[in-house]
């Protein structure tokens, strides 16, 4: 009986210790009062959005910097817009979710921003544009990423009221494939439509051969990879096909547009851009639509797509920027950059936004959101090309910055 009691006591002791550890929760964030003081001075400076670089810098430099980062990097100066944000002073948490198309960009931006703003913890959960929009509707997140615009009938669902679109970055949607023996591939929109509607199922099909007169195509089955979740990438991809060969033109694309399509039976579905990438990388004969960043990181081969002008263009950042030139931007900053005019424009370029409510209950949170978005549109733009995203054209960027100022105003 004693031995049993002893063993029970030991186990009970271990259990209670772990329970105590759980109960005595303590946040690991360290806060310093000096940084709080600096934050108030910079908040004032940011709100005024003055253009005097010198003035802003001295006000912030006066505050005590307890971080190891040099003063220069903590005060972000954008020469064009002149908005000063003291990243080091930002503290708090931001929770967000949404589009996986720009996720690689946001992840990298968050990681590099963390070096300048160690007290700001940002979480971007991904999950697809659909998830982001619905999370923001219910205010389960502070802001959301979406590659497609919100439908009019859904506006009322946004419980926080009015929201703004902040375009952040552009990127091409590649048609990546995994087929040994095909090193270069050219595809017209009509062929793409036929592939994804499972009208042609073999790589050696005459339609593909017609697009690639010089290539020898293997006699292998095509495996179509598409998105399982509600995806802005799907939305933009389908909008391109609809504009190029949809019912209003040649009528070859019949699945319409939307973040979820009624795909024919027999396609493979992945969760997020990374899920589709996973299918392509592990399946011989697969083809799917993936953002350039994920495609390059996986070493995929992708097709050159015929654009509106009739040229076969590869999904490069330059071709993406070319697609954005002269695109019509609406007042709320929504626009569509696919199937664009332009000789060297890549036809499946895509845009993405971050949406956030204009009314914010917590001014500190609003400041954090503005801070992160400003980072995306300043230093983030310089960071983008290194991970295969294209920065916004200047005009668009300025309009985006103006929208940022509306958050929590």
């Amino acid at each position: 009986m004693n031995r049993t009691k002893k063993s029970s006591a030991i186990v009970a002791g271990i259990l209670s210790l772990s329970l105590i550890a759980a109960a005595c929760g303590s946040d690991e964030e360290t806060t310093t009062t000096t940084e709080a003081a600096a934050a108030t001075t910079t908040a004032a400076a940011a709100d005024e959005s003055t253009t005097t670089a010198a003035a802003a810098e001295t006000t912030v430099a006066g505050g005590v910097e307890t971080t190891a980062a040099p003063t220069e990097s903590s005060t972000a100066m954008s020469a064009d817009t002149g908005v000063a944000v003291d990243y080091a002073a930002l503290q708090g948490d931001l929770v967000s979710s949404g589009a996986t198309f720009p996720k690689a960009f946001y992840d990298e931006a968050i990681a590099t921003l963390a070096e300048e703003a160690p007290d700001l913890v940002i979480e971007y959960g991904g999950g697809g544009s659909g998830k982001g929009r619905s999370d923001l509707q219910e205010k389960v997140v502070d802001f959301a990423g979406t590659d497609s615009t919100v439908k009019e009938e859904d506006f009322a669902k946004f419980t926080g009221g009015e929201f703004v679109y902040v375009p952040t970055v552009l990127a091409p949607i590649t048609l990546s494939y995994n087929m040994a023996g095909i090193d270069e591939l050219q595809l017209t929109p009509a062929t793409i439509a036929a592939i994804f509607q499972l009208e042609i199922t073999n790589w050696s099909d005459p339609l593909i051969a017609a697009d690639n007169p010089d290539a020898t195509l293997p006699d292998e089955a095509i495996v179509v990879a598409r998105r399982a979740d509600g995806s802005g990438t799907t939305d933009n991809f389908s909008k391109f096909l609809n504009a190029a060969v949809g019912p209003d033109t040649t009528g070859e694309w019949l699945l319409g547009t939307g973040s979820e399509l009624e795909w024919p039976e027999g396609t493979q579905a992945g969760d997020g851009n990374s899920g589709v990438a996973q299918i392509i990388s592990s399946t011989e004969g697969a083809i799917g639509y993936v953002d350039l960043s994920d495609a390059n990181a996986n070493g995929f081969k992708f097709a050159a797509v015929q654009n509106k002008a009739g040229n076969f263009v590869l999904p490069t950042l330059d071709a993406t920027t070319a697609a954005a030139e002269g695109v019509e931007v609406k007042d709320d900053l929504t626009f569509f950059v696919g199937w664009a005019d332009g000789d060297q424009a890549y036809p499946i370029a895509a845009q993405t936004w971050i949406i956030a409510y204009t009314t914010q209950d917590d001014p500190a949170k609003a400041e954090n959101i503005r801070g992160f978005l400003t980072y995306l549109l300043t230093e983030g733009q310089e960071l983008a090309p290194s991970i295969d995203f294209a920065p916004l054209p200047d005009e668009l960027r300025e309009m985006a910055m103006a929208n940022i100022a509306k958050i929590g105003a």
């Binding site: 979740d229 299918i279 399946t283």
Partner: protein
């Protein structure tokens, strides 16, 4: 004032009653939680039933974002049924073989390790099986599936069951992973049932000149068949409800086809993947309704299983 014995008795009684009722509370919590689950799930799924009625169960199309959204659960019910069926078909021979080997064939020193072996499979979390399935197993199976498919080319019914292979994620892969996961359940319960077979029955068979296998089929199986059926049904219930492992390898592409190499989708997997996007109240209601369907289906199977097992156990205890 000194405490008299009667004072003590009252104090004790009060304390005792408090204790008794607090244990009642502990048990009542279960009832409360279950009632809440039933209520929440039913009420939230009522929207889709008002919109679509019972067509929800027979509708094959799943088009939540179409201009006129259609929510049909049939493909997912099919996927759940097919993968569970494959899982059971694969698991039963292995589990039975394992249970019989452990109880009838293995020498004494081997019994304990075999039980430990079975139980170790049960310890591995389901998400680890899913990880192993999607990264390790699925790509490796493609070649094997293609060969298998080739064998059945041209044979009338079988070639549509073993049809074209596109990728490693399929009904069959999901069924395989589920089979591995439910084997411990079926095996341990079958073992328990088999071990209650009286030694006299077994000795009698052997005395009449039976081989071990004939003894098994002649004495052990007739005795245990009820319990084993119950064990299999419990395994079936578990296979139907298992979410993560199957979700990762089933392909997430709603399909109704006899081809077991095709990818598909199942009730728990679609809920897990699509839940995050309540693009409409109807869609959310549809997903909850699918949760309700899954709940009811597993309930029915588990009930039937428990009933079968209890009846078989009672009969065996009566006989011995």
């Amino acid at each position: 004032m000194t405490l008299t014995l009667s004072d003590l008795r009252t104090k004790k009684q009060v304390g005792d009653r408090v204790f008794r009722y607090s244990t009642l509370v502990g048990g009542a919590v279960i009832l409360i939680v279950l009632a809440l689950i039933a209520y929440t799930i039913s009420s939230k799924s009522s929207l889709i039933f008002r919109t679509e009625g019972l067509d929800f169960f027979t509708e094959r199309r799943w088009a939540p974002s179409a201009d006129k959204p259609v929510f049909g659960a049939l493909s997912f019910i099919y996927g759940t049924a097919i993968t569970a069926l494959i899982a059971v078909l694969l698991a039963v021979p292995v589990s039975l073989g394992l249970a019989l080997f452990t109880t009838q064939v293995a020498p004494k020193w081997l019994k304990k390790p075999l039980v430990t072996l079975t139980d170790t499979v049960a310890v591995v979390p389901s998400v680890v099986f899913g990880l192993w399935g999607i990264i390790y197993l699925a790509p490796k199976l493609v070649g094997f599936f293609k060969n298998l498919s080739g064998w059945f080319d041209g044979i009338p019914v079988l070639s549509s069951i073993f049809g074209t292979v596109s990728a490693g994620r399929s009904f069959l892969t999901a069924g395989l992973i589920l089979a591995v996961m439910i084997t411990p359940i079926i095996t341990s319960l079958a073992r328990e049932v088999i071990e209650t077979c009286p030694q006299t029955d077994r000795d009698g068979a052997l005395a009449l000149g039976a081989t071990r296998w004939e003894m098994i089929t002649g004495a052990v199986m007739p005795h245990s068949v009820g319990g084993i059926v119950g064990a299999v049904m419990l395994g079936l219930g578990r296979a139907m409800g298992e979410t993560i492992a199957a979700a990762l390898v089933i392909g997430s592409s709603p399909t109704i086809t006899a081809n077991i190499f095709s990818s598909g989708d199942s009730l728990p997997s679609v809920i897990a993947f699509q839940w995050g996007e309540a693009t409409s109240d109807e869609k959310r209601s549809a997903l909850i309704a699918m949760g309700l369907t899954l709940f009811v289906l597993t309930l029915i199977v588990n009930f039937a299983a428990t009933a079968v097992v209890t009846r078989a156990m009672k009969r065996m205890q009566g006989a011995s």
